[in-house]
Amino acid sequence: MTNLKEIQEKVNYDKLFDCVQCGYCLPACPTYETMERETHSPRGRINLVKMVAEGKAEVEDLRNPIEKCLGCMACMTVCPTNVEYNLIFEGAKEVIEDHDVKPAALKKTEDFIFNSLFPSSNWMGSIGNAAWIYQKSGLQKAAQTTHLTALALHAGRFERVMPDLPSPIERILRKRRVLPDYKLRTTVAFFTGCVMDAMFFKTNQNTVELLRLSGAEVLMPKGQTCCGALHSHAGKAESARELAMRNIEAFDLEDVDYIVNNAGGCGAKMTEYPQLFEENTTWHERAKEFAAKVRDISEVLVELDGLTFTQPVQRLVTYQPSCHLTNIRRICDEPRMLLHAVPGILVKELERPDFCCGSAGIYNLVNYDESMKILDLKMMDVKERKTNTIITTNPGCLLQMKLGIERHGLEGEIEAVHLVDLLMEAGPSAK
């Protein structure tokens, strides 16, 4: 017999009553659209969590509906009663993890991803040592040798769209502190992110340069690590907490105005750090201070307003916002303001920009088929815009859009680019 009290605590049972079952979230939910049943809708999931917490259904009944949830949190933005689905979702994930009801194949895939791919509690390497994530073509091989047939099957597709790794020299030569040329306007710390830093090293360098040109002193604290979002979303609350503590300590050493990131998903997780710790503890307080400083690069660039763009960019652009930037951080305008500041480009909004691309952390690795259905809907929307560039604000989305381009045979016609790289292309200089 499962301990209901414990389940109720984990899933934030009281918060379930905020849901009045109005159904307003149904039209916003990608999986309700692709999987065509209420079981895979926010309202259905919340109700199931309640049924499990009341002992009317088993944890096993909850597994599939929760596993298939993207965690995109589009439901939160449209919910009229502000149901905190993020807490309910992560709580449910934790309950599932605790109850050991995951099928063996999924567990193996997750173990592989968390122990070999992303920093786990055992792996606490600092940045600079980022070659862990993969050597090009390493992912598939690693998956093959661990007999993860399903993952190995698709890993090749991801690898094809991954950028080349920078040379170790470039990484070693990276400066830990840069200063603006003219007046110093602010001091910020840069959170590099693990995926961003491994795969999109150049984008990170560009981010630092844009900050510098805007008048910021930029520090890159050693000892920072993965934000823990993926761990949280997989129900590994303990690992997420450990990673959060590492980061809070790493950034505590620096006296900065902001902690800047360029990955919507990481930024969202870092503002949620206080939720990982019990209230009225020192760690909770430290997490609150940390979270209050977290900013997306677009917010800081708009606030500093220190750039002019000198180089017209001949691109037709559409914008795929990061779900967590939109739905958790509620940042919608800033990236668009920056886009419109670039001379020469033409921006065409997607019909449904707030519809997830299906990347969703490791969702596209563990739920490949479901993820591709969602990606295909996104690509239809993209194609109808008839643009040649998709701008994103998160590494996961960037990879997924690259995958979408390849999947739909659009290589050479459409390119996926991080907002920061587009801004660099536009010849930024200090105002």
Binding site: F17, V20, C22, Y24, L26, N47, A57, D61, P80, T81
Partner: protein, 467 residues
């Protein structure tokens, strides 16, 4: 596997029959109270599938519960006797515009806002505008005869239906009405189906009337220091020769809840406000606006706000939309009623509500489509508090009685379903209810379609508590 389930597998593709516990629980609720676990959920996608399922159900006497988006506020789609939930929402959406005839043919799954969007592309409008239009299906709207703020000038769903395709509980596909505006051939079964809450047939297609979209609108916000004066202002306006498109009422509790939730600049000192929308030609709007100002001043309004920009007007209507979520913050459970009274009795109804509030010591807030007498008294409570819920049950019963005493009705738009069934006889009398039951019996001799709704069982009472 029981025998009717085996038969279902013969008439429907297997993936359209859901029997997992998780799936069944996901169709066990709507936006009202209670949860009832069905034995199976079927997702139908054409009229033949509907007919086939109903024929099986009719032979095996298994209850069938049609369900659209499950936004019903009166328990309409709840499978109160188990059996089969018939999910209409995954039916491929069809919205076939015939702009030159000002009609549109739609599938039962089409969402109401999508129908209006399709009409707007031709400068037309589908007028009924329930707040849930972007989620609810037209099938649900038809079954509940839903309406919204625009009902004051343009009427409700039933005023826009000219033809239906319906599957009877015995599994026969019939057509009612047609494609013409005038039609007096035989009994008006179309109107009988609309508002039947899915107890007489399953609607599988509808032909709806469209009207041309008014070229301009004008919003006016009027505040009052007395609730009764606001009530009087409504009748006074409506008898002055002006027919606004919308006339919405908010009491002070609602105003303050909205301002606490998402400040919108509503006057928090006012005891009540009325939000008016005029529509029509820009020139006539100018005249009507002045007339309304005059009426409001004369009756003793404290303030009259005329928004200067489209954005300001949208802000006021956004605030109106926030009432529902905002009041949910006062207390977690919302018992939302929609008793409706003749328009001249609104001030009396407001007094009665005040009495009820004091007598049972419950939190009551009032807003609604006051222009057509359709108030939404909401009782705010906590369903985990059994003692409070008992008081709420009594308050609701008295509220219904008050509406009936004043010559009104139990429900203006949300329907009877399970919640109001016990009060039917006090409004309609025993003979009235009996005639309705006879209609039900002749359409559905085996009582398989949405059984347990509208008509109460011996001794059934309103129950908002559960163990």
């Amino acid at each position: 596997m029981n025998s009717w389930m085996k038969k279902l597998l013969q008439v429907l593709p297997e993936k359209q029959i859901l029997t997992d516990l998780a799936d069944r629980y996901s169709y066990s609720f709507d936006a009202s109270f209670g949860e009832y676990l069905p034995e199976a959920v079927v997702q139908v996608k054409n009229n033949h599938e509907v007919a086939a399922v109903l024929r099986v159900a009719n032979v095996y006497k298994v209850p069938v519960y049609p369900r659209g988006s499950g936004t019903c506020l009166s328990g309409g789609p709840l499978p109160v006797k188990g059996g089969i939930v018939m999910d209409m929402s995954q039916w491929p959406e069809k919205i076939e515009m015939q702009p030159e005839d000002l009609i549109v043919k739609v599938s039962p799954s089409a969402r109401t806002s999508e129908i209006n969007k399709a009409a707007e592309a031709y400068g037309l409008m589908y007028a009924p505008d329930p707040s849930s239009a972007h989620v609810a299906t037209i099938g649900g709207n038809l079954a509940e005869n839903s309406g919204g703020p625009r009902g004051l000038k343009y009427g409700v769903t039933k005023d826009y239906v000219i033809g239906l395709e319906v599957v009877t509980p015995e599994g026969k596909i019939i057509k009612t009405g047609g494609q013409t505006i005038k039609n007096v051939t035989g009994y008006d079964l179309t109107k009988l189906m609309v508002g039947c809450e899915g107890t007489l047939g399953v609607i599988t297609e509808a032909t709806l009337k469209l009207i041309s979209k008014p070229p301009a609108t004008q919003t006016i916000l009027v505040s009052f220091s007395e609730v009764r004066t606001a009530g009087k202002a409504i009748s006074k306006t409506l008898t002055s020769g002006i027919l606004p498109a919308k006339m919405e009422f908010l009491d002070q509790a609602c105003i303050r809840a909205v301002e606490n939730f998402q400040p919108a600049g509503l006057p928090i000192e006012a005891e009540a406000v009325i939000i008016i929308e005029l529509d029509g030609h820009p020139e006539s709007l100018k005249v009507e606006k002045e007339l309304i100002k005059g009426i409001m001043k004369q009756i003793g309004a404290v303030d009259i706000i005329i928004p200067k920009t489209v954005e300001e007007a949208a802000g006021i209507w956004h605030a109106r939309k926030q009432v529902s979520p905002a009041i949910a913050k006062i207390k977690p459970t919302k018992v939302s009623e929609d008793a409706t009274v003749p328009r001249s009795r609104i001030p009396d109804m407001l007094d009665r509500l005040n009495e009820i509030k004091r007598k049972y010591n419950v939190e009551v807030v009032v807003f609604g489509h006051a222009g057509d007498g359709n108030l939404h008294p909401n009782i705010l409570c906590d369903k985990r508090d059994q003692e409070e819920m008992l008081r709420v049950e009594r308050a609701v019963a008295e509220l219904f009685q008050a509406a009936i005493d004043l010559g009104g009705t139990l429900s203006g738009e949300h329907g009877i379903g399970t919640m109001k069934a016990p009060f039917m006889e006090s409004e309609l009398g025993a003979a009235g209810v009996d005639m309705m039951k006879r209609i039900k019996n002749s359409w559905d001799p085996n009582h398989i379609l949405n059984t347990g709704k509208i008509f109460s069982e011996q001794g059934q009472r309103l129950v908002l508590r559960h163990d």
